[in-house]
């Protein structure tokens, strides 16, 4: 009983301090001086480092989805609806979520480990005494970069996923590329794209925030760094699903899906 109470207390405390951390981010993000150069560098690192993985998984996701759904659709005599079905499921849900999960693993852990080891080896303190605001230089740039880059990665994953799906369709069935993508784009409405994009921004924000938070508050010692990286991934992944659920709820209200 006591341990439960304790873990609930810990949980609430952590939620509080992450919120505080997020508040500090917004406070510092709007105040000059801005670290544009570092922001660009982080965008490049985050985007470039995850691009290959995201493209590979996106492609396979498109292939698998099409291969698995196709027989059922044939059974129902609805195989001509394949592009619509795959298009909507990839763009609305699978693309953003899979991309975000991959980035939580790749970006979240690397931010957590990097900031954690900087904290432990006093590099963050060294920045502080040299008159540079380390929160702005390290945290604000990383959170912004992951917020900006995630939607772009999602678009890449969506595009390659749809292409993978088209490949299967063109092998198994008989559809031209123009026709296939024409159908996909005709089906997709603003109400599919907008929530998915907004959701992706929030995913990116959550990954950056949690990675930075865990790294910045990492405990002393090498063990602390490992823990920071690990718990960044766990917490970010969990948070992604919560955000996803909330996003779907909100979109549901607005668009009456």
């Amino acid at each position: 009983m006591e341990t439960i109470a304790k873990s609930i207390k810990n949980y609430l405390e952590e939620t509080g301090s992450i919120s505080q951390f997020a508040f500090r981010f917004f406070q510092q993000a709007v105040r000059p001086p801005f670290e544009f150069k570092e922001l660009l560098r982080q965008c490049y690192l985050i985007g470039y480092n995850s691009l290959f993985l995201v493209i590979a998984t996106g492609f396979i996701m498109g292939l698998v989805l099409t291969l698995q759904v196709r027989p059922t659709m044939i059974e129902f005599g609805a195989v001509s609806y394949m592009p619509q079905m795959v298009g909507i499921s990839i763009v609305r849900e699978i693309g953003p979520v899979i991309t975000a999960l991959i980035c939580a693993g790749k970006v979240g852990s690397s931010i957590g480990a990097e900031l954690g080891s900087m904290k432990v080896t006093e590099q963050i303190d060294a920045m502080e005494v040299s008159g540079t605001n380390p929160f702005k230089y390290l945290v604000v740039t990383r959170i912004m970069a992951s917020t900006l880059m995630l939607p772009l990665l999602v678009i890449a994953a969506d595009a390659i996923g749809l292409f993978g799906s088209f490949l299967i369709e063109s092998i198994k069935g008989d559809v031209s590329m123009t026709l296939y993508f024409n159908i996909v784009f005709e089906t997709l409405t603003f109400g599919d794209l907008l929530p998915a994009t907004i959701k992706s921004f929030f995913f990116g924000f959550a990954i950056g925030l949690v990675g930075c938070y865990k790294g910045y508050h990492s405990k002393k010692g090498t063990e602390g760094v490992g823990k920071a990286a690990n718990s960044a991934v766990v917490l970010a992944s969990l948070l992604l699903f919560v955000i996803d659920f909330l996003a779907v709820l909100v979109a549901d209200i607005f668009y009456e899906i």
Binding site: E114, S117, M118, T121, E122, Q123, D125, A126, M127, E128, V129, S130, G131, T132
Partner: protein, 265 residues
């Protein structure tokens, strides 16, 4: 009990009273949870002095000098650095003071993801105005020359030896030409020869910059060569102070034990 072993220092003391201390600490208290680390520490650091702080591992030496640049918030007490009360400063004023106070970290704390050049550039980026008219490249080369490592400019910290790292960290500390320099165990983890090189380097820099230093060390040789005055941090207070000669002759059990213990190491 506070012990003042300054019999020989009476004359210099009266002289010093006329001087304004660059750093003045009164009744400094700091606790981490239930762990009382500093329990009323006092210190005056006068211009052009080299003061060594001795203390056992975990006695709070690093915490003490971190308080001076507000890397650690104090619980109670007065800290004046260059006449400004550190705990009460606004962020901007604090950053201003911090450029006048160099800090050499215990583990060098070089930025892993940057080259040596970028490491040295980093403190300059916020303080371009201060170095007005001076070429950035020239400042970097000068700082590297003063520690004898010009050739390392494009290396990454991971490619440097421990001693080189310490020297680059020193160069990074010096690049803003601080008035006060805080050294946290500048020779720890180095072999005697490299230690000696670092000590000589510190003395040389001292002379060139006319800086005032507070040096934390475990290394008695280092303490003897560098210090004008030593302070023993024990039980959270400035337990004893005096020159090396005076303190090493002390009859006080704790001070004696301290000298023996450290010398054996």
């Amino acid at each position: 009990m506070r012990l003042k072993e300054n019999i020989n220092m009476q004359d210099s003391k009266t002289q010093k009273d006329k001087l304004v201390p660059l750093v003045k600490i009164r009744n400094l208290k700091k606790a981490f949870g239930s762990n009382l680390v500093l329990k009323g520490f006092n210190l005056d650091l006068f211009p052009n002095e080299n003061v060594v702080i001795l203390g056992k591992s975990g006695s709070g030496k690093s915490v003490l000098i971190k308080c001076l640049v507000r890397l650690v918030e104090v619980d109670e007490g007065e800290i004046l650095v260059l006449g400004k009360s550190i705990p009460d400063l606004e962020q901007e004023e604090l950053d201003e003071i911090r450029t006048d106070v160099g800090f050499l970290f215990q583990g060098s704390a070089l930025y892993d993801s940057m080259t040596v050049r970028e490491n040295l550039q980093f403190p300059l980026r916020r303080h371009k105005e201060r170095m007005k008219g001076q070429d950035e490249e020239k400042l970097i080369m000068e700082a590297l020359r003063s520690v004898g490592l010009e050739h390392a400019i494009d290396l990454m910290p991971a490619e440097l030896s421990g001693g080189m790292k310490r020297r680059i960290a020193l160069a990074r500390t010096l690049i803003l030409q601080p008035q006060i320099i805080l050294y946290d165990e500048p020779t720890s983890g180095l072999d005697p020869i490299t230690s000696n090189e670092i000590i000589q380097l510190i003395l040389k820099i001292q002379k060139d910059l006319k800086a005032t230093s507070l040096i934390i060390t475990h290394d008695m040789d280092c303490a003897r060569v560098i210090s004008n005055r030593m302070i023993i941090l024990q039980d959270g207070i400035n337990y004893a102070e005096g020159t090396y000669e005076v303190l090493s002759q002390s009859d006080d059990k704790k001070v004696k034990a301290f000298f023996k213990e450290v010398q054996k190491r």
